[in-house]
C-alpha cells in the first residue's frame, strides 16, 4: 500500500508542471576572454525562481562580466545561458554541435524580460523620469501609453519618488536616479533582475534608500542576481552568496556560512581585508 502511494507520488512529481522546478537562470560552462585575458573560466550557476544570489569578489574577478553576459551586453566564447528555459545569445545545434549566434532581433526580445540596473544609473538624460520609465514598455513591448504611465506611477510610488514624475535626471540625486533606474527596469515586467554594483557610485548617505528598494523587491519574490561590495547588505538579502575570483567560483554558500565561516582560505583572506577596512 505504502509502496503504491510512493510510486504514485513520485509520478506526480514527475508530472508536476515543469515550470515550477525549472531554474530561472541557468549558466553552464561559461567561458569569456578579453583577448588573451580569460575573465570567466567554466562558470556554472543555477538560480531558482524567487532566489536572490549575491556575487562578491575582488575587483577584476569577473563578477560584472558574468552579469553582463547574462543579457549579452558581453559576448561569450563558450557555455550556455538560459533565462526561464530560453537560451540567450547562442544556440547549439543538437546534432552538429555547431554554435550559432542568435539574430539581433531575437537577442533584443530575450533582453526584454531581463532587467538590469547599472553602477552609473544610465538614465536617458534627454527624457524626464516618466519618459525614461515608459519608453521601453511603449516602444518595445507595445503596451498602451496610458497603461504604461499608470504602471510607471505605481513603480515610482514603490521606490518613493511619486513627486519626481516630470523631473529630468540631472535634477535628481544619485540615489533618486538609481531608484528611477530600478523602476525603469521593473516597468518591463522582468523575470529576473540584475544589479551591477548599483550603490558603488553613491554617496554613503544615499546608499540606504537604494538598498531598501532592492530589499523590498526581494521580499516581493523577484529573482535577483546582485553584484555588490556591500557585505552587510549581502548578508541581509542573499539566499546564497557566490565568491568569484580569477574568473572561477571559488566558494558558494548561505550568507552566514560564507561570510562567517568560509571554507576556503581565499574567501577568508578577502573577508578579513574587508572587515579590517569597513567593520561590518
Amino acid at each position: 500500500m505504502e509502496d503504491t502511494l510512493n510510486d504514485a507520488s513520485s509520478l506526480a512529481i514527475e508530472l508536476a508542471p515543469a515550470r515550477q522546478r525549472r531554474p530561472m537562470l541557468e549558466i553552464a560552462g561559461l567561458c569569456k576572454s578579453f583577448g588573451a585575458l580569460e575573465v570567466l573560466r567554466d562558470v556554472s550557476v543555477v538560480v531558482s525562481p524567487g532566489e536572490v544570489v549575491v556575487v562578491i569578489g575582488p575587483s577584476g574577478s569577473g563578477k560584472t562580466t558574468l552579469l553582463r553576459c547574462i543579457n549579452l551586453l558581453e559576448e561569450y566564447e563558450r557555455g550556455t545561458i538560459a533565462v526561464d528555459g530560453e537560451p540567450i545569445g547562442y544556440r547549439t545545434d543538437g546534432r552538429s554541435g555547431r554554435r550559432a549566434r542568435m539574430s539581433e532581433r531575437e537577442i533584443a526580445r530575450a533582453r526584454e524580460r531581463i532587467g538590469m540596473v547599472f553602477q552609473s544609473f544610465n538614465l536617458f538624460p534627454h527624457m524626464n523620469v516618466l519618459q525614461n520609465i515608459v519608453a521601453a514598455p511603449v516602444r518595445v513591448r507595445r503596451i498602451e501609453r496610458r497603461q504604461a504611465e499608470a504602471r510607471a506611477r505605481e513603480l515610482l510610488a514603490m521606490v518613493g519618488l511619486s513627486d519626481k514624475v516630470a523631473e529630468y535626471p540631472i535634477r535628481l540625486s544619485g540615489g533618486q536616479q538609481q531608484r528611477v533606474a530600478i523602476a525603469r527596469a521593473l516597468a518591463m515586467d522582468p523575470k529576473i533582475m540584475l544589479f551591477d554594483e548599483v550603490t558603488s557610485a553613491l554617496d554613503p548617505e544615499l546608499v540606504g534608500e537604494v538598498l531598501a528598494a532592492m530589499q523590498q523587491l526581494a521580499g516581493d519574490g523577484m529573482t535577483m542576481v546582485v553584484v555588490t561590495h556591500e557585505m552587510s547588505f549581502a548578508r541581509d538579502i542573499a539566499d546564497r552568496i557566490l565568491f568569484i575570483d580569477g574568473g572561477v567560483i571559488v566558494e558558494e554558500g548561505k550568507p552566514d556560512q560564507l561570510l562567517f565561516a568560509p571554507q576556503t582560505e581565499r574567501v577568508g583572506a578577502f573577508l578579513k581585508r574587508y572587515n579590517d577596512r569597513y567593520r561590518i
Binding site: N71, L73, E104, R105, A108, R109, A110, R111, E112, R113, I114, G115, M116, F118, S120, N122, L123, F124, P125, H126, A135, A136, R139, V140, R141, Y168, I170, R184, A185, M188
Partner: protein
Amino acid sequence: MKELGPLIHSFWYLLRGAGMTVLMATSAVVPATLLGVLLALLHVFGGWLLRSAILGYLFLIRGIPLLVLLTFVYYLMPLTGIDLPPFWGVVLVISLYYAAFVSEVFRAGILSLPQAQWDAARSLGMTRRLMLQIVVLPQALRLSAPPYVSLCVSLVKATSLVSIVGLWELTMAPFQIFIGAAAIYFCICYTLALYGRHLERRVLLGH
C-alpha cells in the same frame, strides 16, 4: 559721406542680393544636413567598404577649396551635357560640400555618447533602430548643435563665392558696396549664431 553714395544708391540692390543669399543658403542647408546625418550614420554603423568610401569622400571634399569646386562645376557641367540652372548648380555643390562637414559634426556627436547609454538601451530590449531613434540620435543631435550652427553660418557666407560662377548675387556688386554687403552677411550670420545660442540654452535645460 560722398564715399557712401554708391552704398545708399544700391540699398535695394543689396537687399535683393540678401534675399538671394537667404534663398540659396536655405536651399543648400536642408540637403546638406540630411545627407550629412545619413553619411554620419553610415560612417559609424556601415561596413568597412561603406566606411572607406565615405572616408574617401571626406578626404576629397576637405582637400579642395569650395571655390575650386564651384568653378569646376560651372565650366565642366556644360561639357557633360547636364543642363542645370546656375542657381541649382551652386546649391548642389554647396550641399555636397557642406554635407561632408555636417557628417563629421554629427559623427562626433554620436561617438561622444557614453557607451553606458547604449548598454541601458540594449538592456531594455531595444533594437538598434529604436535605440538610434529614441536614445542616440536625440542626444547626438543636441551635442552636435553648437558646431552645427557655426557650420550653417559658414555655409551662408560660402554662398558669396557664387559670384565667381557668374550668378547674380549679393557680391556681384561694384567694389564700393562690399562694406554694405559685409554688413548684411554679418546680420544674417549673427542672427543664426544667436539662434544657436538659444538652442544651446534649451539643450542645457533639457539635460
